[in-house]
Amino acid sequence: MTEPTAPPPETAPGPEAGDATPPQDVPPAPPMEEVRPGKTSIGIWGAPQSGKTTFLAALRIAMSLGDPGWRLDGANDGSTAFLASSTDQLSEQRVFPHATNSSEKLSWRLHGTRQVRERTKWYRPTAKRDVPVRVHLDFVDPPGRLFDSRAGAEGGASSGGSGSGSSGGPRFASSASGGSSGGPRFATSAPEPSRRGEGGGRDRRELVEHLAACGGLILLLDPTREREARDSYQFFNRTILEISQRAPESRGDHYLPHHLAVCITKYDHLWVRDIARRGGYESVTDPDLLFPAVHDEVAERFFEELCREDGIGNIDAIRREIRQHFSPDRTRYFVTSAVGFYIDPRTGKFDDENYSNLVRRTHTDGSTSMHLRGKVRPINVMEPIMWLVDRLSQAPSGDTGGLRSRPVGSAG
């Protein structure tokens, strides 16, 4: 995200003020199409097949399903095309969007309103008012393989399962070759040829620098992947070290200065949801559909529970690294699902015995593909973005160049 241009807290006369007058310590806004990593940027990162592309595609659907006060536009042609195609694939074709093949620079504009408190006399009730917000989201959606810590060491010739041609769907033990269109055919294992010889190389360096320069980070963790591939830590480890190397010092503490939204994905998966259900972490968030969700207040504890349940993976190591590198005050956990739960159109309610929205099809040639069964109803996809917007906008100006008004509510 670049330049979350909220209006000045007290002096902004109207909705257009924030748009027209950037904060004082923020450099003048460059043209909209450029990617400008900075304190107010948000970087997204995760292991291959952790669902980054699907997460981005689900974001717009989440916007349309959520608070009507928010709207997402592409800031350039590539972003608009991505937004259109990935939304179409996910919601209409009911397949997972194609994986990202390169470091696509996606820039979106997030339009909405936030309530801010107005300063009043102490004896007067707190006044709130809606202020328009136009946020620039410069998302870099890097292919997961660029975060592979083995990439540099092994020259990119390695390793099945980390191919950038994968997408955000579940993986399977079977290793049929991937399909080329119409959604992911899982278990493609060949690394992308263009990066085979350079081991991530320039793309990777650029991405790490981009992440280090971002003010907010979204880390996607797929706990189901860790049960099978057990390589999430491997992907996480090197990247966090490189970010640490490049990131500026935090003024108030020894942590990295970034705000981190940890998204524990695949909440709709049977194993993940079972843990949430057994541990009592679920609550009904949608009064109409009776969707369950894990509230972000308990998401960190749920994450700890996941680490305990996952006796063979290395998620707990990731958790320790997060605590070591990121301030707890600037870290928040979210339990997300890009595709959400299946809702039987006849009942219109969540069915605890029939909620998986994914169908795996095996084709007559032996290949497999994942399809969505019903409508896409993302869970906690919008919330990390909104949380980051809020946190970045209220951070001290030295850190974020940000906004001093305190948001009292957001979509997150």
Partner: protein, 639 residues
């Protein structure tokens, strides 16, 4: 022997004894009363034949006649060089004319014999399809196979030697030849006098005797023939058949045999005597009725029964039609078509014709064609082989085959989708099994086949029906309906298939059936019910998470529960058999439940083994060897 070698001029007699010289043409030694010309070849020495030209020509003509009786194999042995084409053709035509004349002479003589042909109307009739001139010969052979004849003897003197056949008229109904046969080759009868080569020996037998001592040959034949004749029964009908008319040595043998058995009747025939004898047997009317051995389930086991096929007096050419069906085990075992002869008064069935074949499924109308006593042909069956097992053993097998249950409810749930190869194998196995059921149980089995495909998880299609097939049909109809189920490949879920839908349907069917039959009836007369599941993938779970080991398996969109269905099947007393693909883990709970009685692997499984596991065929592969008789055993005799 060199045909051009000079005749031996010297004899073994002492010089003081002036023995007559043999004829330089035919080698015959004239007796003391002989005329100037040779008695056999009419050769007359000529003083003006100083160069021997006439003698050579006489030798050539003499040998050519003998060789022409034999054929091409004797052509090289003609003295004076191999005859050219015209000479040879002319000689062959002359030999054929001579042969025909001799045969005609024989027929004329037989017709003139008093009493010949008198038995024809009583015991048989000539083959009207043959030349009427052969009828007298047929009558002569008919006398040999008279039912009241006592060991008649047929002596056939032919090109190969002397064959002696003692006919057993009481054995004409048997599967074998009703005669015993003893062959004496010329090689054995006159080995020291005849050439060893087959072609030259045939030339000699036919008349090329110019270098053979006739007296010694006759002496040797007399000795051997006496040994043969002395072993023959005395005072029985004896027929002497000359099947090589015109040949010198067989003719000599006939003459010597006539001296040894003056009571013989001599006939000349144009083919081997055994063929005439077989035809004579075939012309006989049946003395006892012929029956087909069938099987019926009577009591706890099957029983062999006799079904009338041809009544007594039936003649060659008559046909009968029987309606049969193969019995239990008949789909993959031979069915024995055993025809026996026995009178209805004195029950003593004797095997006439015991043949093995494979019968197609269903009730068949089989034609049986009578080709004479002991010869029954099945023209509708292309592959018929002799059956070597004795009838007593087959009777015992039949009686050891337990009767199947009176009514059987056979239910089949088969996965039609999934990987194509095992899907095809499942279909083939079930089709073969239904065929077995059709053969073994027939209409006693009510067969329900439920084939299930794939749940569609497209919005709006979740509750579409995925099961198709037939309910409670006779096996043949069920098999046809099953074969009509479309073979199509479609995407599938690798970890679940809508087996639960098929199970729930079957439970509903059983409930309806129970209601129709009545509760009390079911309690007192519980039907035998068996369900076979042929599958590779487990059922969809009832709800998400019902099977923790299949995280991605979608629950059944219709919320059918295989556990509840299996419980209901158990309550109905259904025998549960599961046939699983080789790659399927058979120890999972759904398979242990659905294969409670037997769990089998698809690969290598035969329909009989599956039917055995289902309790539909006799255990241990017992089968009924004889065909089951259809309700209408005999449609009639079109002849």
């Amino acid at each position: 022997m060199d045909p051009d070698a000079p005749l031996p001029l010297e004899t073994e007699f002492p010089p003081e004894f002036e023995a007559p010289l043999p004829c330089p043409v035919c080698g015959l030694v004239p007796d003391e009363f002989a005329r100037f010309a040779c008695a056999e070849c009419a050769w007359t020495p000529s003083d003006d034949d100083v160069h021997g030209t006439k003698l050579s020509e006489a030798r050539f003509r003499y040998d050519l006649r003998a060789a022409a009786r034999v054929g091409d194999k004797a052509r090289p042995f003609v003295r004076g060089g191999v005859p050219d084409g015209d000479q040879w053709t002319s000689a062959c035509e002359e030999a054929e004319r001579e042969r025909t004349r001799l045969l005609e002479e024989s027929r004329t003589a037989a017709t003139a014999t008093p009493g010949v042909g008198g038995w024809t109307l009583q015991f048989g009739r000539p083959d009207l399809g043959r030349d009427p001139s052969t009828w007298t010969t047929q009558w002569a052979f008919d006398e040999l196979v008279r039912y009241d004849a006592r060991s008649p003897v047929l002596i056939d003197v032919g090109a190969d030697g002397v064959s002696v056949m003692v006919v057993r008229p009481d054995a004409v109904d048997g599967p074998g030849d009703p005669w015993s046969r003893e062959d004496h080759s010329w090689e054995r009868l006159a080995a020291s006098h005849l050439a060893s080569g087959a072609g030259e020996r045939a030339f000699q037998l036919a008349g090329g005797l110019h270098d053979i001592d006739r007296a010694r040959l006759t002496e040797a034949l007399d000795s051997e023939l006496a040994r043969i004749v002395e072993r023959l029964p005395i005072g029985v009908t004896t027929l002497l058949a000359d099947s090589a008319p015109g040949w010198t040595v067989p003719g000599l043998t006939i003459a010597r045999l006539e001296l040894l058995r003056p009571d013989v009747r001599v006939v000349r025939i144009g083919r081997p005597a055994v063929e005439e004898l077989a035809d004579a047997v075939a012309r006989l009317p049946l003395q006892a009725p012929y029956w087909l051995v069938g099987a019926q389930f009577d009591g706890p086991t099957a029983q062999p029964v006799l079904v009338p096929l041809f009544p007594a007096g039936s003649m060659t050419g008559q046909e009968a039609v029987v309606r049969v069906a193969r019995g239990p085990g008949g789909a993959d075992n031979d069915v024995v078509l055993a025809v026996v002869a026995t009178s209805e008064v004195l029950y003593d069935p004797r095997p006439v014709s015991v043949l093995a074949t494979r019968l197609p499924r269903g009730v068949l109308s089989l034609r049986a064609a009578l080709e004479g006593p002991g010869r029954v042909r099945w023209p509708d069956l292309p592959d018929v082989r002799p059956e070597s097992r004795p009838l007593d053993q087959l009777y015992a097998h039949t009686r050891a085959c337990p009767a199947p249950a009176a009514t059987v409810d056979v239910m089949c749930a088969i996965e039609l989708g999934g990987p194509p190869t095992p899907a095809a194998a499942r279909r083939d196995l079930l089709a073969g099994t239904l065929e077995l059921v059709s053969a073994d149980l027939g209409e006693r089995a009510g067969v329900s086949v439920r084939g299930y495909r794939e749940h569609s998880f497209e919005l709006g299609e979740e509750r579409d029906a995925v099961v198709e097939g037939v309910w409670d049909a006779d096996p043949d109809r069920a098999l046809d309906a099953f074969a009509a189920l479309e073979r199509r490949a479609q995407p599938y879920q690798s970890d679940a298939a809508p087996l639960e839908d098929a199970l729930v349907e079957i439970v509903g069917f059983l409930e309806r059936q129970r209601d129709a039959r009545g509760w009390l009836n079911e309690v007192h007369h519980p039907p035998y019910r068996v369900l076979v599941v042929l599958a590779g993938r487990p059922p969809h779970p009832r709800g998400q998470g019902q099977d923790p080991l299949r995280e991605l398996a979608q629950p059944c969109p219709r919320k059918d529960d295989w556990r509840a269905a299996v419980d209901a099947l158990r309550r109905f007393g259904v025998r549960l058999v599961a046939v699983l693909d080789g790659a399927t883990d058979a120890d999972r709970d759904y398979w242990t439940a659905l294969g409670a009685h037997r769990r089998l692997t698809l690969e290598g499984l035969t329909p009989r083994a599956l039917a055995d596991a289902m309790g539909l065929v006799p255990p241990g592969g017992a089968s009924v060897p004889f065909p089951l008789m259809a309700p209408v055993p005999v449609e009639g005799d079109p002849a």
